[in-house]
């Protein structure tokens, strides 16, 4: 299903639509098929002004009885008497629901814990929902009967029949879709012909039988986009490519030390595959070794990174403190997931914010950034590298499951158009006189590394003397150094863009005193909600330090609502940074992205 969804999204993107996707799958690799726990889904929205993968679907494809139940009941799927309820259902009252009738046998119904033999009545699906029963399995086998494929391989192509049908429903041309399939299977050419056949049969099935459903016409969004070359990209891949671009721009060797962890592993995969770009990716023995090998590479003069998720960030805390103390550039990518502990490994959450800002022993400031779309994971990975290299500081970049696995339309930049990166260096005249405490006028220490003759020094995780750079336990010196490290991170605010408010659009600014505030991956949902409400949105990518004008911007509004997928970490942080500011909170912690509708209802009526 993930493949089908991706293909459909990519097709939409190639045809000039904006896209946003949300893969949702169980934590188990091979969860028992046909059971409620084993349902794997892929949500995609396409059209003009797409900010999110959508709240409620217009079209659902349910490949079996369990999927039908989960889509209809949403999070209430395991309540024994539950029926369709618009609040929980994954589709709306007038949606089209395509169901594989071959996968509704007694056995299938039993596996999905139905009590009766009529799933539609049992689930209380309202009549306004257009159910399209299709014998997907039979039709797929029919399409492939002359292919000589075995039964199991044929069944795998069922998804392609559904894809063809959905393409018909959305009026998407087949030739582009066929081209995409050819590209997808270019390493397994034998699969191109059968899959193409099944997909085209699916399309024709819709066409010929003229299914009595209304086809969906998408708005043409082309004029919205900045001209250029486009592709669709997943957040983790965009993150990895941002690091690659930054290394090349900075003239540095890219080193990644990492340990596999959901949902960050694709960054390791991508960088391990990019030896052609001269990337060195070390799969370390544990999370701590991941960050420590990176610190070693930074000490030796590289652009060093580590990628992880929440539990891994906990394990790396002490070492990140070492990078703060040793004042080395280091990029830490935390793809947040549901926590605490092992938590919800495959679900999304914004709960590592406090850990990123404060989660280390001692006064231990680091720069914290957050990406806000799958595509701008590229920009903020690049920015994280730039800030780290130019300011000799660890930078923690927060993304999350939603951004990491989701895809979005990405305008492909040329290296030349990306901002300059000037890694900190050391003036020639310090040769023979260098020590690791010497700083430039910004308060950023000079960077010398092994191999450079005449700059030998000892770096430390112990406190160092502010003048000589050697170990010091002097009380005044310690305070001076604590403040020097804080100042160094704070001065980054001079080099980052100011906070820009996204102004209410479309509907009359009904709520012009209201400001939605968010950070990270919720930007799309909050943007859509702000448009709906006619209020402004302040969305943060720079978390620590905050943009310089933050207080001035926020003080202009009477009602400030900070919306986050946690219990209020950013709200609390803002209160601490801007004392006396009155802030309202809207929070959800369900492992899922926001639903625009719920935010709108909260702002309007004070309830979800």
């Amino acid at each position: 299903m993930q493949l089908t969804g991706n293909l459909f999204a990519q097709l939409g993107a190639e045809l000039g639509h904006e896209i946003s996707t949300l893969p949702d799958f169980p934590a188990e690799i091979r969860a028992p098929q046909g059971t409620l726990g084993g349902v794997s889904g892929f949500q995609v929205e396409l059209g003009a002004e797409v900010y999110t993968p959508g709240d409620k679907a217009d079209v659902i494809v349910a490949m079996n009885a369990a999927a039908l139940k989960v889509c209809t009941l949403g999070s209430h799927f395991n309540h024994p008497q539950a029926q369709f309820d618009e609040e929980y259902a994954l589709y709306h009252r007038n949606a089209i629901v395509i169901v594989d009738t071959d996968a509704l046998t007694d056995k299938d119904l039993e596996k999905a814990l139905y009590r009766t033999d009529n799933p539609f009545t049992e689930l209380g699906i309202p009549e306004s929902v257009q159910i399209v029963p299709v014998a997907l399995t039979t039709l797929t086998k029919e399409a492939l009967k002359e292919s000589g494929m075995d039964n199991k391989s044929m069944l795998k192509s069922r998804n392609m029949f559904a894809l063809g049908l959905v393409c018909w429903l959305f009026d998407q041309p087949m030739d582009k879709a066929i081209h995409l399939l050819e590209d997808k299977f270019k390493k397994k050419p034998a699969l191109v012909a059968p899959n193409t056949k099944v997909m085209v049969d699916g399309y024709n099935y819709g066409q010929n039988l003229a299914l009595s459903v209304n086809r969906i016409t998408l708005d043409n969004p082309e004029s919205q986009q900045q001209p250029g070359q486009y592709t669709s990209i997943a957040g983790n891949k965009a993150t990895a490519w941002g690091l690659i671009a930054a290394a090349e721009k900075a003239g540095k060797h890219l080193f990644l030390g990492s340990y596999p962890i959901t949902p960050a592993t694709d960054i390791l995969h991508e960088l391990a595959a990019r030896k052609d770009m001269n990337v060195m990716a070390v799969q370390a023995e544990d999370e701590i070794a991941g960050v420590c090998t990176a610190i070693g590479a930074a000490f030796a003069g590289d652009l060093a990174c580590t990628s992880t998720s929440g539990p891994g960030l906990s394990l790396k805390s002490e070492a990140i403190g070492l990078a703060v103390m040793a004042e080395l550039p280091l990029v830490v990518i935390d793809v947040q997931r549901g926590g605490p502990s092992t938590g919800l490994p495959t679900k999304t959450e914004q709960t590592d914010l406090m850990q990123a800002i404060y989660g280390r022993n001692g006064e231990c400031p680091a720069v914290v950034l957050a990406a806000s779309s799958s595509a701008n994971c590229f920009d903020f990975a690049y920015e994280a590298c730039k800030i780290a290299l130019e300011n000799m500081t660890p930078v923690i970049l927060l993304t999350d499951t939603y951004l990491a696995n989701g895809t979005a339309l990405w305008r492909i930049p040329k290296l030349a158009e990306l901002p300059e990166i000037k890694p900190q260096s050391v003036p020639e005249e310090l040769k023979g006189k260098y020590n690791p405490a010497l700083r430039d006028e910004r308060g950023v220490r000079y960077w010398a590394f092994p191999g450079m003759e005449g700059y030998q020094h000892r770096n430390i995780g112990l406190e160092r003397d502010a003048e000589r750079g050697t170990i010091s336990t002097n009380p005044e010196n310690h305070e001076q150094m604590v403040r020097a490290r804080q100042h160094k991170v704070a001065q980054v605010a001079e080099r980052i863009p100011e906070l820009k408010v996204i102004k209410a659009k479309g509907k009359a600014a009904a709520a012009k005193d209201v400001l939605l505030v968010g950070w990270g991956s919720t930007e799309g949902h909050l943007h859509a909600a702000a448009n709906e409400l006619g209020c402004d949105l302040a969305h943060f990518n720079y978390i620590h330090p905050l943009p310089k004008n933050t207080e001035q911007v926020l003080r202009q509004y009477k009602r400030i609502i900070v919306c986050e997928l946690n219990t209020g970490q950013f709200a609390g942080y803002l209160r601490s940074q801007i004392p006396g500011l009155s802030i309202e909170q809207y929070n959800e912690i369900q492992g899922q992205p926001f639903a625009v509708e719920r935010i709108v209802n909260y702002v309007k009526y004070g309830s979800k």
Binding site: Q10, W241, V282, C292, H457, R458
Partner: protein
């Protein structure tokens, strides 16, 4: 190779080991060995964790990085892998290396990263002022084991061989020539070289290696192994080492025979099969199970010198070689060339 003196490797820092600490001797041996090796200080990185021995980088004029407890091995792996042209030393102790940093220790050995690791074994936590370590003898009384430990200790050599180590040497703080030889050999060996430095902690574990450190006893209780030389020891060079296989159990064991016995072995450090290296490295190690030497009748000597030194591809070399091979064949080598390979469309 440059012509250098030990003094070229002395930093301007005052050496702050306790008076009488075995680390002083290793520090001097390192400076001598580095001069003998002849690599310029700016091409050397000395990485350490936390502990008394981890202060070592401060006293050497090379690049140094005194990191956090247990993680020196991981940091050193990052330095060497990303910059294989550097000579990388790691300074660590029995706690730093075998307790908190145990995972990094076995993995740097398994991967065969080309590091020279000095593992200072004083069988005690010195910097935290006297707790037992993973190499303290069973029953050892310390501040954290007032009734004696109930733990079985590690024998470092066994751990090194278990992790498929390619180089293991053992030396003693008071034996300067052997220490310098071991350190030079560690550098010459391509791969992860572990040098177990038996050092005395004069404050918290004084006399822990007295069995061999005592000048009177050393010749009888230790043997300095040299590749290609017969295994002869004793004050009068009258004893030799041989292997005997128990006829019932087929278990091989080392035995002491007269020096002129034809069974006396010639040391082969380059033998890839570690069986004999293990037997040699374990000689006299039953002492680590015991708090006192009293009643130990074992006459096998403790082996010093380079016990194992075999060739194998190093991790840093393999990683860099693979990147070079892929790049050689790659069509896209820059970011712009990479993005050109994407499925894309114009808007």
């Amino acid at each position: 190779m440059l012509s250098m003196e030990a003094s070229d490797f002395k930093s301007d820092q005052y050496v702050r080991f306790c008076p009488g600490c075995g680390d002083h001797a290793i520090c001097m041996a390192l400076q001598k060995a580095m001069a003998q090796i002849g690599i310029a200080p700016h091409n050397i990185a000395v990485i350490s964790g936390i502990g008394c021995s981890s202060r070592m980088p401060h006293y050497l004029s090379a690049y140094g990085f005194n990191t956090i407890h247990g993680r020196g091995g991981a940091v050193a792996t990052g330095v060497k892998t990303s910059h294989p042209e550097l000579t990388v030393w790691q300074m660590s102790g029995d706690g730093d290396c075998l307790a908190i940093g145990g995972n990094h220790f076995i993995h740097e050995i398994r991967r065969n990263v080309d590091l020279n690791v000095c593992m200072f074994n004083n069988r005690i936590y010195g910097l935290t002022k006297g707790q037992y370590s993973p190499t303290s003898a069973k029953g050892f009384v310390s501040k954290s084991s007032p009734f004696g430990t109930v733990e079985r200790p590690f024998i470092p050599a066994e751990l090194v061989l278990g992790a498929r180590g390619t180089f293991f040497a053992r030396t003693l703080d008071v034996d300067m020539p052997t220490t310098v030889d071991c350190l030079v050999a560690a550098k010459q060996h391509k791969g992860c070289s572990i040098v177990e430095c038996l050092v005395n902690c004069v404050i918290f574990n004084n006399g822990t290696h007295a069995w061999i450190a005592d000048r009177e006893q050393r010749a009888e209780h230790s043997i300095v192994l040299k590749h290609g030389e017969k295994m002869i020891f004793g004050k009068d060079k009258d004893k030799g080492l041989a292997v005997e296989i128990d006829p019932q159990t087929f278990v091989p064991r080392m035995i002491v025979v007269p020096a002129d016995d034809p069974r006396v072995l010639v040391h082969d450090a380059h033998q890839s099969d570690p069986t004999l290296h293990r037997l040699l490295a374990l000689m006299g190690q039953n002492r680590v199970e015991r708090v006192s030497d009293e009643g130990i009748t074992d006459e096998l000597p403790i082996a010093l010198g380079v016990i194992r030194d075999v060739e194998a591809e190093t991790y840093d070399e393999a990683v860099n070689k693979q990147i070079a091979e892929v790049r050689e064949k790659a069509k896209a080598k820059t970011f712009d060339e990479l993005t050109a390979t994407l499925e894309q469309w114009t808007m």
